[in-house]
Subunit: 312 residues, 4 copies
Amino acid sequence: MVLGSAKFFVRTFQTRNASNVAFIGIGQMGARMVKNLLKKGQEVKVFDTIPLAASSVPGAKVCKSAGEAAKDANIVITMLPTGDIVKETLLADKGILKGIPKKSLFIDCSTIEPKMAQELSRISKENDVRYIDAPVSGGVTGAEDGTLTFMVGGADSDMKEAEPVLSKMGGKIFKCGDIGAGQIAKLCNNLILGITMIGTCEAMNLGIKLGLDPKLLTNIINVSTGRSWSSDTYNPVPGVMPNVPPSKGYEGGFSVPLIAKDLGLAEAAALSCGTPLMLGALAHQIYRALILNGYGDKDFAVVYEFLKGQKK
Amino acid sequence: MVLGSAKFFVRTFQTRNASNVAFIGIGQMGARMVKNLLKKGQEVKVFDTIPLAASSVPGAKVCKSAGEAAKDANIVITMLPTGDIVKETLLADKGILKGIPKKSLFIDCSTIEPKMAQELSRISKENDVRYIDAPVSGGVTGAEDGTLTFMVGGADSDMKEAEPVLSKMGGKIFKCGDIGAGQIAKLCNNLILGITMIGTCEAMNLGIKLGLDPKLLTNIINVSTGRSWSSDTYNPVPGVMPNVPPSKGYEGGFSVPLIAKDLGLAEAAALSCGTPLMLGALAHQIYRALILNGYGDKDFAVVYEFLKGQKK
Amino acid sequence: MVLGSAKFFVRTFQTRNASNVAFIGIGQMGARMVKNLLKKGQEVKVFDTIPLAASSVPGAKVCKSAGEAAKDANIVITMLPTGDIVKETLLADKGILKGIPKKSLFIDCSTIEPKMAQELSRISKENDVRYIDAPVSGGVTGAEDGTLTFMVGGADSDMKEAEPVLSKMGGKIFKCGDIGAGQIAKLCNNLILGITMIGTCEAMNLGIKLGLDPKLLTNIINVSTGRSWSSDTYNPVPGVMPNVPPSKGYEGGFSVPLIAKDLGLAEAAALSCGTPLMLGALAHQIYRALILNGYGDKDFAVVYEFLKGQKK
Amino acid sequence: MVLGSAKFFVRTFQTRNASNVAFIGIGQMGARMVKNLLKKGQEVKVFDTIPLAASSVPGAKVCKSAGEAAKDANIVITMLPTGDIVKETLLADKGILKGIPKKSLFIDCSTIEPKMAQELSRISKENDVRYIDAPVSGGVTGAEDGTLTFMVGGADSDMKEAEPVLSKMGGKIFKCGDIGAGQIAKLCNNLILGITMIGTCEAMNLGIKLGLDPKLLTNIINVSTGRSWSSDTYNPVPGVMPNVPPSKGYEGGFSVPLIAKDLGLAEAAALSCGTPLMLGALAHQIYRALILNGYGDKDFAVVYEFLKGQKK
């Protein structure tokens, strides 16, 4: 496959500085993204509803509201848990729209419903602000290392303007199409992820119960047709790979509620176009059942433990 | 991960010739495997219940029964559709046991139930024949190119003796454990395959229905957490990859009944040890429903067409 | 179980006439409901966006808009396909709110999201109109015979006022709780229905393929633990029961898109409270796959045909 | 539906005594069945591998082996956990065939694979013993009350001979067809049961989480299209019905491993004829996951607790 034939391009780190950048949402992901911006020489004003979170980023200028952070910014970035929270952060009394200058660029890196991205775009346009959606993949590790993948939807010129700042936090930027297309690409990817991880857990569990060595089985799968990111990069069985959450008690990583959230967004998108997600719908329910049965704070690969069984 | 720490080893092609090799079952896979044996200078006696099939391998010596082919052979290889057929081919009136010399090695490359492999081993031992199970992955392409992966179960010395002849047909040989362990590894791999392919079809279909370009979406997935063999090597959407069955009307390739068979074997194995296969069981049923609804002669990636929808 | 201990009560037909009733939405259900109102001596003004539909109810006064029908009405009933359409019918230029007098009662019999019922209630209250949700079960037959079951949510006094007119169209009225509770009860019932029907189809298909007589198997199930409405009242196998859609080419009845819609509403409700619907989610996807594969205009029991298989 | 047109008939209790009856397998079901035989005046010789079990039936003659019990018996009844155990009990050193007189009738009431029923029939015939399969529905309560339903497969004359003794233990006898047909009918019924129970649990859980009263919701479902044995006779929510296992801590009743076993048998039968069981396969996996997660000794309605959620 000739990659050049698709709209694929990779940007190396650049040093041109967007003079004023605001970053709203300093959680697990946001804090690491801001650190990379700072490290690459970009000044950043930050805000989080939890004051301690915002102050966890030494070198950034901590603001008392989203509106204050957005003041004078030509680029405002958000990294927040849900679409409703992004909307609230935009519209609130001391929200982004209260501070952001006309014509500035609003880049939402949160994972939200494609429809909400369109609504945020509409609200932005009504206030003479430009909007692109730019959700990421790569997780906490990608955020830490500055190797996130950005999936971007919006106008070509806006996307071009976003590149220098996004490239300080990530290694790849995909232009996916119109507003919301970044979100759609993200959901499609995570839909496969949520399914493939459970499938890998089922097969590893089966093989181990039947006497196979976990590392040997992993080696076979990883050079065969069952190979995937879930087997070769994030193997769910404790001890197979040393530095992934499954080998650390399923602590950290990508939590069950987060994959459940993404599968819920995929289902809502599928419902809007009458598309069946047979395994996707079931995977979604499995993660939701795990939340209710004591696994809500674990990495999503913990489905292996559920399948293996834990006598009460 | 240090591969050496697991029982993993790769053999390059070797030229030592096992003086007498018989090969029973000259179908899509078997014919190609025999051609590679011949190409590497190994003489082969062959048999198939369909005379035309056996005669499709120029250079091989065509025999009139499995017993005749096995006569004087120190290695007898079978590549047959089901465990029951292997057993029948072993025990029949003019079957393998009627011809195979004492102490010879019987290598079954068919994909069958692990329990049947144990039964075949027992029968072989009672007749003073050594047995190993050696199912393959890599499909018709791997058989054609001589790059199959063999997953082998049995005694170490038997496995060592099988290596020179197996390495003429494949690039990798995994010793999985005792008798049946090769079958277990194969089933675990194909279980993931059957699930991940459907998951990939669901996500590609969703993205395309929502307006994404299929090649772009593939590019994104292939550098993200949704990456798998089903997306980067055998993409199910017509036109994304030029030389795979999905781009050729889902003709050839790995048929729906074959993946359904493997998932059925995985389920039987799971039932024997009380292991739940939640997505695996559903994937199995989906393939079975496809067989009944007009897709029985297509490549298994045709699940994409089913999800996309075809008005009657 | 003492039924009286629950909030269960059944009303027999009453003759007191609500002086002015408007009925909006004269489809398969609405037309039959109006006919029963007329038969019991209740005058009705009707409106439908399709003029022919409205004129299919001889004896009713056909109006040119929802607003015109609602003028002077003390009770306005809607029976419409979706929550969005009900909202539009309420708020449109010539919509219900343009005609309905202050303090009148708006009874929505449509099946919609519980959240939308709450929104409709809020809008009604802002316009000094009282609102209850009153979805029905019993289908076209129940509507025809005047034996519908109403599941009602709202204020006690409003529900009491609705009784005389509802009882002209149905045999049972359940007060389920606050606004939206009628919808919740309806969705829970139809969730079971959608699952049980598929389960019954799977078992009938299995038994018949293994040689059992369909009527005999039905008789056994109907006195055993597999008994349900789907087996004893609406058996999905053609010929088992003479007058149900499965015996009439799966024509008429409860269409696949309608059960898919209800399962979608159930899933949305489940998502809102983090409740897993494992079989429900899969049943939903099965019906959606049927719509895309040529069964979109059939009765929902047609899942039997899909499982039985139809070679293309 | 005219019941007479199907092979349906109900026998009232009869008093004619089969002179010699042996009963093998004195568990939860068997003990209660024997007590009813004794109460109706039938002498019974009994055997169980657990001596205490056999001695739990006062009035029966306890034997030291199946062969001893079968000696001089013209009817031998088995009620055992699996097909393999029945076969072992037949063929063992002191097994049934060692004692049973030629031409006697062997009635197997166990729930086993239809194929195993055919094998047991073949073995019986080779030993000049007549065989019918006669699995039951009705559970422990039906066994206690003597109201079991028998689903019988075999020769008409054998079935006729079995009637007087079966009717002492049950209220209904269905002649389903040839050998194994009784098992097929049983599996089809329990397949629906396993699915419908989960569906009912999902809907009850959803309704209750959204604020509905459990008894009210039950009342609505029981007069609507969601009605089934799982809702109106064995409601899974504690407190809705006073005397069922869900109201007694899910103790007693029909255990999770037993329904899982029956769904496994249904799947094996479905596999043999290429029939998809989409919800059935998933229901099977759900019950198997419950066994592994601490619910293995509970009544199968405990799936309600799993869906409701139990924080670890």
